[in-house]
């Protein structure tokens, strides 16, 4: 918090390297000068200019007066809010963060679950052809051939998986899953 202390015309700076400041330059530099944020070289120049220029000094006095007023009052605006309001805001924030976290873990759970299912089904599909009794979801045996080729079986297993796993496989379905979770 910078202060608007009295501006003393300090004379530590050099005046040789800096270009000469016009009235316009000085007036533009006043905000930084007021708040002591001007580099020392310019600061000295402004101070000297103000000492010798009535117009710029009038600007300076006016700016300083209003700056003092603002420094005393602007920090009061929006203050005095009861602790209860902050507590309420916090609850809202915490709830939103938690909801989001649940949603994320839910979708990741669903996707990893889905991935696991797919892997399992594929594994089943590629499993030894002898284990036909082991594939209960397979709609019908193929043409009574008995020798189902891997390609054909893979196709049918894909069918089953899309039937059982529709929600997680549609990426845009996930938010709806999460939404049921909202408080």
């Amino acid at each position: 918090m910078s202060t608007l202390g009295e501006m003393t015309a300090d004379s530590v700076e050099d005046m040789t390297t800096e270009p000469i400041m016009t009235c316009r330059d000085v007036q533009r530099a006043l905000p930084a000068y007021l708040h002591r944020e001007l580099p020392p070289s310019q600061r000295g120049q402004v101070a000297r200019h103000l000492a010798g220029c009535v117009r710029c000094d009038a600007h300076y006095q006016a700016q300083r007066e209003i700056a003092r007023r603002l420094e005393a009052t602007v920090p009061l605006i929006g203050r005095g809010t009861e602790a209860g309001r902050f507590e309420l805001m916090w609850r809202g924030i915490a709830a939103q963060i938690a909801a989001r976290r649940r949603q994320i873990s839910m979708t990741s759970l669903m996707t990893s679950g889905a991935a696991l299912m797919v892997v399992l089904l594929l594994a089943l599909a590629w499993a030894p052809t002898a284990s036909q009794a082991w594939v209960p979801t397979q709609p019908t045996a193929f043409h009574g051939d008995g020798r189902s080729t891997p390609v054909a079986v893979a196709y049918s297993s894909e069918d089953t998986s899309s039937a059982t796993l529709t929600p997680p496989l549609q990426s845009n379905y996930a938010p709806a899953v999460g939404a049921t979770d909202e408080p």
Binding site: A58, A67, L70, T73, P75, I77, G92, I93, I97
Partner: protein
């Protein structure tokens, strides 16, 4: 990027290391660290939002949204680039801007009403308190009439003591622009806050 190379040795009053530790804890999954960050920054963030929006409900909404966003994106915060406070301020300001872009006409209407209300005779409060709340109400009404960019500059400078470099960062503008916005705000507010014809200055400055 912007290290403290601008000649001022002023550093953001941020409780630097403490905040860094809290952020690290929060990122590490410590839920209480989020609460601690909120406790630390909510009052000034709310005050910022209120001073810009000049409406309690909007300020509360934006404060909440800003924290939710910040907490969800905490990983993106780069302590080497900015202080946590100015990062939060940047988040909040962009949300305030969306808000007053939407509600500007109403804001102006209310300001006219308030302007009238303030001109009305004072209440019978004890004098000092009355003067204080009077001054506060007067400034609030004056801020309402200020262009949003000028209001932002004034609020960041006087409400929060930010340096011009920090104001530039939060407002996403060059530092010279931040300075000139404060100067223009001074000029605009002088007419609104200081009694007309109070001084010889007016005459001098009129030309």
């Amino acid at each position: 990027m912007m290290t403290n190379a601008t000649g001022t040795s002023q550093t953001p009053q941020d409780g630097g290391t403490d905040s860094a530790a809290l952020i690290a804890h929060a990122l590490g999954g410590d839920q209480t660290a989020y609460g601690a960050l909120y406790d630390r920054y909510a009052p000034s963030l709310y005050r910022l939002c209120y001073s810009l929006l000049l409406n309690r409900e909007d300020a509360e909404d934006v404060t909440q949204e800003s924290f939710v966003y910040a907490f969800r994106n905490l990983r993106r915060f780069d302590a080497g680039k900015s202080a946590f406070k100015t990062w939060m301020f940047t988040i909040a300001i962009s949300r305030c801007r969306n808000q007053y872009r939407r509600f500007m006409p109403q804001l102006l209407d209310i300001s006219d009403l308030l302007g009238l209300a303030i001109a009305a005779p004072r209440s019978e409060q004890p004098e000092a308190a009355a003067a204080r709340s009077d001054a506060k109400a007067t400034v609030e009404a004056a801020l309402r009439r200020l262009q949003p960019r000028l209001r932002e500059a004034v609020v960041l400078r006087y409400g929060h003591g930010l340096t011009y470099r920090e104001i530039a960062e939060v407002m996403n503008c060059p530092q010279k622009t931040a300075e000139s916005r404060v100067r223009l705000a001074h000029d605009a507010l002088r007419g609104l806050l200081l009694p007309v014809g109070e001084s010889l200055l007016e005459e001098l400055l009129a030309t």
